[in-house]
Symmetry: D2
Subunit: 332 residues, 4 copies
């Protein structure tokens, strides 16, 4: 149960009530909020004097639920707004990893040319083997920050474990929590203490319920700017790298109040299907897309098979705006 | 290995060569064809004198492969053509099951009003429990045939086991092989003996490789008119009925020469996501769509939760043509 | 709801009541039985005068449920009894396919030597490709029948579609319904009309609920002799052929009244793990095991990688009886 | 490729060679070791002068592979030894979470009574919702340490993210890395810097290949004491909490040199199947078992449905030694 408190309740009193009700407390910008376990379906007596409004939800999807707020949250990053009434679909593009200053610059020029406003690249790579490229770390973050200064776009980059979450928060405009880090509460809680937008990727073995519950760790810390990113789940089918779960996207749109982003690159794992899946996602009216592109994919240090080269990306990008318009959206 | 034989080889000689090479033989309308096991990668000596052309493939996807024919097959049903160079997307719509003459008529009027050319409804239902509605059987087929006469559309209906395959072939314009019957070779082989178009649904636990191999049972019988239908696979995610595998659709488009149909209704299992997923599939440029609609879904005898009512269907349908046009397709 | 009828109700009356209550009727050897849809939780008025006893179940697992009969069913095949109070575990062994009279004879000698009482081999193979060995058909059945005459064991062989179900029923002592044929109701209903024991394999994409519901098709036809066989489900893990679901076996033991058989060979797909998994299954106290063995596995026409050679089988078999005894069972 | 270096190579030289060959270096107690990417299949020229022995492996499973060492590693924790030639199966038992000093004491008495040598309980709980019990943290660790002093057993407890890895290393005799933390390299690398034994749980969406690769992060840090724990994978079957992958256990036994532990409690998720699955795992000859037990499971703050009560545990435990003996093992 979510409880909006009346104004001017003393902090010590709120703490006391939070402990007594096993609740998490935070300030949502407008008011103090307590979140009780979801099995509490009626307002406890002790909270009646201080409660302004309360919201019972069917599951532990609470702050992210349509039951709490039927309106989709609006998130603004620099001059880009998604969600709310915006009808915008944000394109996020860039290479899998920062590999060098030159490589970032080559992709950045394309992003600028196409007037895309959000650039992605990873610096801390969650590789499954210790014997492969692990990313450039902070050096990569500096390369990204310089590209931002030069080209004036937003940058998004990934945190893979809690040891470098502060660094990523400092450098990035959007913090990406990777699929393998989704269950890491120390990251989630740390991201709850900032207002920087967070793109939370679904773990590939994660149910939709658990996925949104991971967002609750951030939301209940007081950061309302969370985007959910579907990037493919692991199924018995191995001809493609993962299985993009667009039924799940429909579920997230129906039952949550968070913007939804789709990453077709990681789901497909092969260049050949990325353009088609990107078009599919746009036609669903999602709030954002994340597509990998690299100057020379065959030489990429990670995800070589799935990154579009710059020409392939440009060609694909040219087909997207008409689909967005056909459903009343705008690709930005 | 597929071998095109020269003209005028005596039938007895072809039979003899087929046996000697463990090959399946059929006539494809133009020529006699032998299909040898795929591990045969070079033309056997015994076939050199009679072979016109031969095609080696990497897997037991042979007749359906792009390696055999890089051009997508064209299929014509009445005045509807899909595949080939048509750029058409065929809408197939109707209720899950034939329940009564009145129910079929109500939906048929909508289909006619929207100028949709293909009507679906099942008469033999592959239910998982013996204690639920099993379909009207041949009585249902007659109701469908009468609707076809009255409204002049094509009808498609399902065969669920080999005991009634002849009946369905007799009545239907397109034979649907259900997901649970996909591995039934006696159906596949029987459908190979007709030229009627066959819509083959992917089993929900079936890999893409096995799915296309099931089509080979039909193709190697001599029926070239096979459509592949993705309808959702079973994964760990149970908030939705199945998981629509659009990565798999991208694979089928890339590696096979067969038209691809998408069924969002069964994948989603809930009304709320069907329109979005239908739009997604169209934006991928698929050759057809299969969407369930029912006059009163809440009273339907099967699949009650996933069928759109007639107004919902009409509203959704109105949004589709612009997306089709955005990618240069036409919805028919 | 299952309803036991009083004796001496006229057949015409029973038929009338069955139709009026959408019920399936059969005679279970002792009495007439009606099975109504499971959502019926209280005895309908029309049945009160004729009902002796009634049983409501929570799901459409009705005749197979512990709610209906808390005692495990006993099944006798020749001089072998499993289930009931027997504490027997039946070993079923033999090659994947009948390939020749000599091959069957070689394995049969081993089976006889080890005093195993049940011999398996397939004649109709549910292959996924039309271009591979499809089985010897009726010729194979005759070879099996001759081996039975010579060695005095029971034989079990597979039906893969309804076109040859009568043949298999005629020849076999136990009818095996294969994993891919599990949803084929025409087979299930036909097997309901005989009393021959049926070993029903779980489809690899089939939930436990659906699996047991498939058994209901046979049970509600009047054949009480159904065994459930777990043989591996399809998961994201592909290092092994399938994933043997022993959690599912625990579920079947807890909630159903049917004997449970485990097939480690198909689950594992590789020789190296078969002995370990066989020992695991015995330690769970299952009612039977199905293990493939072949004189020369590397030359087998199907499932070459998973069949034990005769020495491997003999060696493994020697380790099993002590485990069975440790849990109070006897391997027969 | 793994390269054993000759003795007395200067550290600076080793570092230089490691960088030049993109290798990880560590000292394995006997010698300096370099691990190069697995695609390197022949010893590089630059390493020939310093190499004593080298080992090429087929995949990035290197230090854990049978190709590197065909003998299973032996691990000693206090007076308990598993792996190697020990033929021991170690029972690890205890509640899911430390809830109170009294609760720990109640279970500890049973563990002592049964002469079990390893006690488990979690202090940092990786819950999927922020609104449920998150564990007692360091207070729990102190309770565990006190129980160890009082009862003289080893304790194992879980690290769920890198923020408290140092604490867990300090208190525990065996460090458990939880299923959701398996991909967290900062934990893996930190555990590589200690010699304390590590029980690494398989992520429920993790392939066997990735699972063992996660162990490589620890092994290549220089800690040879890694145990692999199968605890159920997520599949389409939801009647049970997860699906225990004993085919995977067979794979790990065949291809890796690490001891293998099985956790039936988390896999099953329900009390009723735990005893059967424990017996199954023992019969496979695994090196250890992890079973949850709680004085009053129905009141447990986490995993209430799957923990055995003390009587159920005692009763189950009494059945295990005979099975272990039947296969020549000893349960300790």
């Amino acid at each position: 149960m979510i409880v909006h408190l009346k104004p001017n309740i003393p902090a010590a009193k709120i703490d006391e009530l939070a402990v007594a009700n096993q609740a998490i407390r935070f300030h949502d910008g407008t008011r103090d909020v307590l979140v009780l376990p979801s099995k509490i379906q009626t307002l406890p007596e002790s909270l009646k004097p201080v409660a302004d409004e309360s919201f019972a939800t069917k599951t532990d999807i609470q702050l992210a639920s349509k039951e709490y707020s039927s309106h989709k949250r609006s998130i603004t990053i620099g001059d880009v707004t998604i969600g709310g009434d915006s009808m915008n679909t944000m394109m996020i593009a860039g290479p899998c990893s920062v590999e060098s200053r030159e490589q970032v610059d080559q992709v950045a020029q394309l992003i600028k040319e196409l007037n895309i406003k959000t650039f992605r690249a990873g610096c801390f790579k969650p590789r499954t083997s210790p014997y492969t490229f692990q990313g450039l770390g902070e050096e990569g973050l500096k390369i990204l920050a310089d590209a931002r200064d030069k080209y004036s776009f937003n940058i998004i980059t990934e945190v893979k474990d809690s040891s470098h979450v502060d660094l990523v928060i400092e450098y990035a405009d959007i913090i990406q929590i990777g699929a393998k880090a989704m269950y890491d509460h120390s990251i989630g809680k740390r991201c709850g203490q900032t207002k920087k937008p967070v793109l939370l990727k679904r773990g590939f073995g994660t149910t939709l319920q658990e996925f949104v519950q991971a967002a609750e760790f951030i939301l209940s810390g007081g950061n309302p700017n969370v985007m959910l990113c579907e990037r493919g789940i692991r199924t018995f089918e191995t001809q493609t790298r993962f299985t993009l779960d667009l039924c799940g996207v429909a579920f997230l749109k129906e039952y949550t109040n968070l913007p939804v982003i789709v990453d077709p690159s990681h789901a497909m794992g092969y260049r050949y299907g990325v353009a088609d899946l990107t078009r599919a996602a746009i036609a669903m009216g999602v709030d954002g897309l994340l597509v990998e592109t690299h100057p020379t994919p065959e030489k990429a240090k990670s995800d070589a098979s799935q990154q579009l080269n710059l020409d392939e990306f440009r060609k694909m990008y040219g087909t997207l705006q008409p689909i967005a318009q056909a459903i009343g959206h705008k690709l930005i």
